[in-house]
């Protein structure tokens, strides 16, 4: 092939990339374009002359070689032209008064509180299963907070060392868990439970216990309660629902583990562990190397709780769970100090809460 084109053409082809890179503006580029692919007196024009003069048997091969060079040069020239044009545009814009690299006015961004965000997420997870939200007051009666939940009247939680009471109304207290919402809801729906076809709901909310304020304690915190009442409800339904919910929250490979435990308002009762969402159950500081993290307490509703609400436990059964929102938030976010959630530093809120 080489013998088909004179050495000065090959030399021009070799030096083309360097010449192209050396073009600092569009004018230089136009000059280079003229020299290589211009209509007259360019390397391309010269090659076309050679092609015309070439013997017939070489024409095909030579034509291919010439086209390859021309195509290569034209594409490279076009690319470089785009680059130089956009650089010129930016420069023109700067000169015209708007520097696109100046900080633009950005709309203000706020945030939901991380605890609210987590509670909202839990509601979202349970909505497709037909759960709605029930709420109740924070100032409660002993009856709703304790008696209706099969908690004996000499239970230590009732002591004034554990529970806040109202001075002017000794029978009123600040609810110590979201479980009184169970009692209120069951009392309300008991007469229509058959028409409703049972009930299933979440009860997120604030609760109070007489704990001093320190990195792991707060006199006010949040819980999310879940409850389902239906026909023939057993432990398998609790397990199935929590498996669905926790896999939605933490990922499809999440495993859950039920361990026997005790709460007065359920029987059987259990603690529920989830395979550590931080290390994928390989063992880390959060799961203390065990691969499991305790996430909530649950169980089948104690017959006394149903009976208190006027629901026949031989007809109806159900499950309930309760989860500490702060505990879960701290575990997921690795926040070192519970007090940060109540300090409301905007930097913390922005970083942790986001907008969803």
């Amino acid at each position: 092939m080489d013998q088909l084109l004179p050495p000065e053409i090959d030399e021009a082809a070799r030096s083309f990339p360097e010449a192209l890179a050396a073009c600092g503006d569009l004018n230089a580029l136009m000059r280079l374009k003229g020299a290589y692919v211009g209509r007259e007196a360019s390397h391309a024009a010269r090659m076309m002359d050679l092609l015309k003069a070439a013997p017939k048997e070489h024409k095909r091969e030579l034509g291919a070689q010439i086209n390859a060079y021309k195509q290569q040069w034209e594409e490279a020239l076009k690319g470089r032209q785009t680059e130089l044009e956009s650089a010129k545009k930016a420069q023109d814009a700067l000169a015209a008064g708007w520097d696109p690299t100046l900080p633009p006015p950005v709309p203000a961004a706020g945030a939901l509180h991380p605890l609210n965000r987590l509670m909202d997420r839990l509601v979202d997870v349970f909505r497709p299963l037909g759960f709605h939200v029930e709420e109740g007051p924070e100032v409660e009666t002993e009856a709703h907070n304790f008696d209706g939940l099969n908690i004996p009247d000499d239970h230590p939680a009732k002591a004034s060392s554990d529970t806040f009471y109202l001075a002017a109304h000794p029978e009123l207290l600040l609810r110590t868990h979201t479980s009184p919402v169970q009692v209120r809801t069951l009392l309300r729906v008991a007469p229509t439970l058959t028409e409703r076809g049972g009930i299933r709901f979440l009860a997120p909310g604030r609760v109070y216990r007489k704990d001093e304020i320190d990195p792991t304690h707060s006199p006010m915190f949040h819980q999310v309660e879940g409850m389902l009442v239906g026909h023939g409800i057993g432990m398998q339904h609790l397990k199935g629902t929590l498996e669905y919910a926790l896999r939605t929250l933490f990922g499809p490979h999440t495993e859950i583990r039920l361990r026997p435990s005790y709460f007065p308002f359920v029987e059987p009762g259990c603690e529920v562990d989830v395979s550590c969402p931080l290390c994928g159950a390989t063992g880390c500081r959060v799961c203390k190397g065990s691969g499991w993290v305790e996430i909530l307490g649950a169980g089948l509703i104690h017959p006394n709780v149903l009976t208190y609400a006027g629901i026949d436990p031989t007809v109806w059964s159900g499950w309930a769970f309760g989860m500490g929102v702060e505990r879960m938030a701290m575990m997921l976010s690795q926040t070192p100090d519970l007090r940060l959630f109540f300090e409301n530093d905007q930097r913390f809120l922005k970083a942790m809460g986001g907008l969803d």
Partner: protein
Amino acid sequence: MWIERKALAQEIPAVAGIDTRELCELLASLGFPVDGVAAREGSEALDVDITANRGDAMSHRGIAREVAARMGQSLVPLPPPPAPEGAPLLEVRLEATACPVYATAVLELGSGETPESVQAFLRALEATPKKLPAVDASNELLLRYGHPTHAFDADAIRGAVTVRWARSGEDLTTLDGVTRTLATTDLVIADEAGPIALAGVMGGDATKVTAATRRVLLESAWFDPRTVRATARRHSLHTDASHRFGRGADPAMARIARDLLVLRLQTWCQARLLGAWTAGADPQRGTAVVLEASLLARIAGETLDLSQAAEALQRLGCGVVAAVGSLSVLPPTWRHDLNIPEDLAEEVLRLRGYEHIPSALPPLEGPPEHLAPAYLQRQALARRLAQLGFHQTVTYGFISPEADGAFAGPGNPAEGRTLANPLGYEYSVLRGSLLPSLQVSAGQNTRQGARQIRLFELAPTYLSGPDGPREQAALAVVWGGVLGGEDPFSPARSVQEADLAGLARDLGIQDGPAIHRLAEGLFGFEVSLAVLPLPQDRIIPAFRPFSRFPAVERDLSLLVPLGLSHETLRQAMAGVLPADALQDLRCVDVFRHRSLPEGRQAWLMRLRFQADRTLVGAEVDGWMAAALAAAEALGVSLRA
């Protein structure tokens, strides 16, 4: 409770071959999670978490019983009694049903110390050996077998021993040196001079065993759990004994623990048994509980073989009589938590392991319910405010009376909202307003160097009422600092009241709320959510036609007397303009300067007209003249 591995293996040898991690897993799967493992006295001690219903498991024997049941193993048998019981050496009278059985013995102590192995056992469990065999043996028995016992100095006791209710005005100095005034609902052990022990809680100081004690009177009884709990709480005296009696000890252990105590004293210090006897009798056992196969299947999520269930319950010590489709189950004397069929079903599942429970989603039996409008309203508000750049806060529901007084209305006295037992004065009142809490959070953010404060909270406020505090869901917003100035395009200016008014309007608050100045350049407002619109159904509303003809915009530059409100002027001008053509009328610029006539400011009023036809210039000129005339009637003049 601490469980020492070697001691556990002394009750169930099979445990010795299990590595610690596996043992922890085993205990957790039985409902006894291990919170930690510590190296103690050349062995390991496990910090076992025991739930409040399982007083029977609060000992090495108790935990061993659980492990044995799971593994299908037997416990090491207890040693036989050292001697048959004989006639009472002194009278023991049981006058209260709260103490149905009281086993006792009198021994003459010889020489000898608590064995080093026992002292090491006690130290491993964070108990301090007293080096008094009678005391150490009682403590060791409690930790090993779970039954609290007590040793009195027999020579310090005067006359007969009575278990009775304390009499009004009686007092007792307990072992901790505290003199306690007793209530008539405190069960006591008394001699003829008065109380010598708080039953099931703590012994008395005057009859305690010391190095000088020659003869001991042993007590191994059973006390009613409620009585012990009440006394422990009344005197704030929570002891190892009160924890176990309070959760329900095993009445059948009264004689056995007494015998074990006698054996120890005989072995450790050559004590001579002078006599052992028992007053009263074991309390009546509860009745059998019937577990139906159908209930067990419902709870388990699958049909379980009744004979296997029976076998599991028997391994736990239950007496089981099988019938067709059900089991009649008599719980063992140490289990006070097995009272209803559900309790038994739990035991069957627990022993089998909860990991065998199948998994299923519960079928939907009725239509799902909607989210309540009040809930959706809060969600929508929170999202809108967050989108507008505000940060949702969470603050405590109780504040100091001073902070509360600054914003709670006059009709809302703090007395009705005050806690009886607050964490402190600064947390003593359920707040009548959210603003004080947001004011504090804003101050903290300012001190941290925030240029702009944008906070809100959605939470209940409390209104004192005759039936207690009534909760009202409320929204409070605080906003302050400098707007803009963070880029070349947004000039800096301070946040003003008007910004909050505009925000309130954005949120759909009809009547502009009172805007409070909370600090220099910091403003806030608070509204009850009842005054805010509920979220609309998410459905497209009916079409309302709008004009496609061009709009006409005209400005009027007016000199307005200071003191004339924008709303008065706007209404006066709008009143003379055709309602179907006037689209908007508002002040778009205010200018105040000393170059203006005294007592005047300049307002640029912008009027916008649009109708279902093309507006003609002359027509609009007429309207503008009328609007100006209406303004002039209020003392306004056209600015030259």
